[in-house]
């Protein structure tokens, strides 16, 4: 008679369902103006959602809403398959137009701070792991700048430093607003590689972009002005 694998029993019970980002009937108003209303989508683990549409249509607002920075006028959003009472914002990294890099601190100090400050998400369904700060800088090709005050970095280097933040703390959802801005072609390819890795480890990406991104598994969300109220009009698989 063999021993029962008692120590494994809990892990069987704990096996969680795959991650899923669910947004239902999102409606937001900014400055007394309705930006969009009743926008719904679901995003499965390992998928990227590319948000397209004209300038000023509300792409940035959508990302900021998902990041919990804009209050909802209606609707709800949550992550399924994680801890229950955790808001979406705490599952997510927000990579926006601003880099949140302090010029007076060295590149490494910037990164180390974010690593310890941002709470990481450890759930079974997401395999992303924390990359040590030095390694993250090296991966992005700015390892040599680690001890330099970030104020000496070029725009592209600063952007990459900001990107390194997403690697040092594992979080399953990446919200990326124009991620390729200020990056040259080589860095853009590297960024795509990182994004694909993230998808590969079970993460999700919501990105607003003008350029075509060669991501492995994408869906497109096209925001279009429906006169005069702007709403989501179509949702396509790419």
């Amino acid at each position: 008679m063999t021993e029962l694998p008692t120590n494994k029993a809990p892990s069987i019970i704990r096996r969680s369902s795959p991650l899923k980002l669910i947004a239902e009937n999102l409606t937001i108003d900014r400055g007394g103006r309705r930006v969009f209303q009743d926008l719904s989508f679901t995003l499965e683990s390992g998928t990227a959602l590319v948000v397209t549409g004209a300038n000023g249509i509300g792409k940035s607002s959508l990302l900021r809403t998902l990041a919990g920075l804009v209050s909802l006028a209606g609707g709800a959003m949550h992550v399924e398959g994680g801890e229950d009472d955790r808001p979406l914002a705490e599952y997510a990294h927000y990579f926006g137009h601003q880099n949140a890099v302090k010029p007076a601190l060295t590149a490494l100090e910037n990164l180390v701070f974010w690593q310890s400050f941002i709470a990481s998400v450890r759930i079974d369904a997401f395999a992303g792991a924390a990359v040590p700060p030095e390694e993250a800088l090296a991966t992005l090709g700015i390892g040599h700048t680690a001890q330099l005050p970030a104020g000496y970095l070029s725009a592209g280097q600063t952007r990459r430093l900001a990107l390194a933040r997403l690697l040092v703390t594992p979080r399953p959802v990446w919200l990326m607003d124009e991620p390729t801005s200020a990056l040259d072609t080589a860095s853009e390819a590297q960024l795509l590689g990182l994004m694909n890795d993230h998808l590969g480890s079970g993460g999700m990406i919501v990105t607003a972009t003008h350029t075509e991104l060669a991501l492995s598994n994408t869906r497109v969300l096209h925001l279009r002005a429906a006169e005069p109220v702007r709403t989501l009009t179509e949702e396509l698989d790419a």
């Binding site: 990041a67 919990g68 914002a89 926006g96 601003q98 949140a100 302090k102 601190l105 310890s116 400050f117």
Partner: protein, 223 residues
Amino acid sequence: MSSWGVALFNRDLRLSVRIGGSALVGVLFFLAVVTVIPFGVGPDLNLLARIGPAILWIGALLATLLGLDRLFQADREDGTLDLMLMAGRPLELVVLIKCLAHWVATGLPLVVAAPLLGIFLNLDPVAMGAVTLTLLVGTPALTLIGAIGAALTVSLRRGGLLLAVLVIPLAIPVLIFGVSAADAAIHDPVPFLTPFLILTALSLIAAVVGPVAAAMALRFSAD
């Protein structure tokens, strides 16, 4: 406090020390205010000794207000505040730690400078000690109350002056008990301990109300 709190505290302290030496500017401003007063009221040493604690307190209040407008604004301008809001840390504690770091960088130097400036104002050693002690207990309250104003005006391009207008009425009780306690130590109409304990209580209340209100204001400002 866990490691993230320490990391935040260290970062904020490092930033204030490295950027323009804000501690130094605050102390210089304090010195300037204290130097100007005798020109206004005349060089009568007895009068100066009598109003000395009040001058030091008002100087400290103004110097504190001066540095407060950047408390959250710098973080908002470069997007740091957005990330702090979604970091999964209690925002009230984040505000409290930022205030603490700000106080260590700008308030504590004022407290240290106070005895030296007391010499200019003809304060005797007891008075000097009393003023320094009340400043040590009272200036954190100024920073914490000021944090509310800083959070409310965080989105305004030139919020510094408005911040002062909003915060000064709230800071009146701290000023009253700070100066009263210092006065009580010099010529005692009342025992020193009564106003001093009330001052301590005000600081503790500010440590609760300030971060709660400021955190609420910061959440709204992200919108």
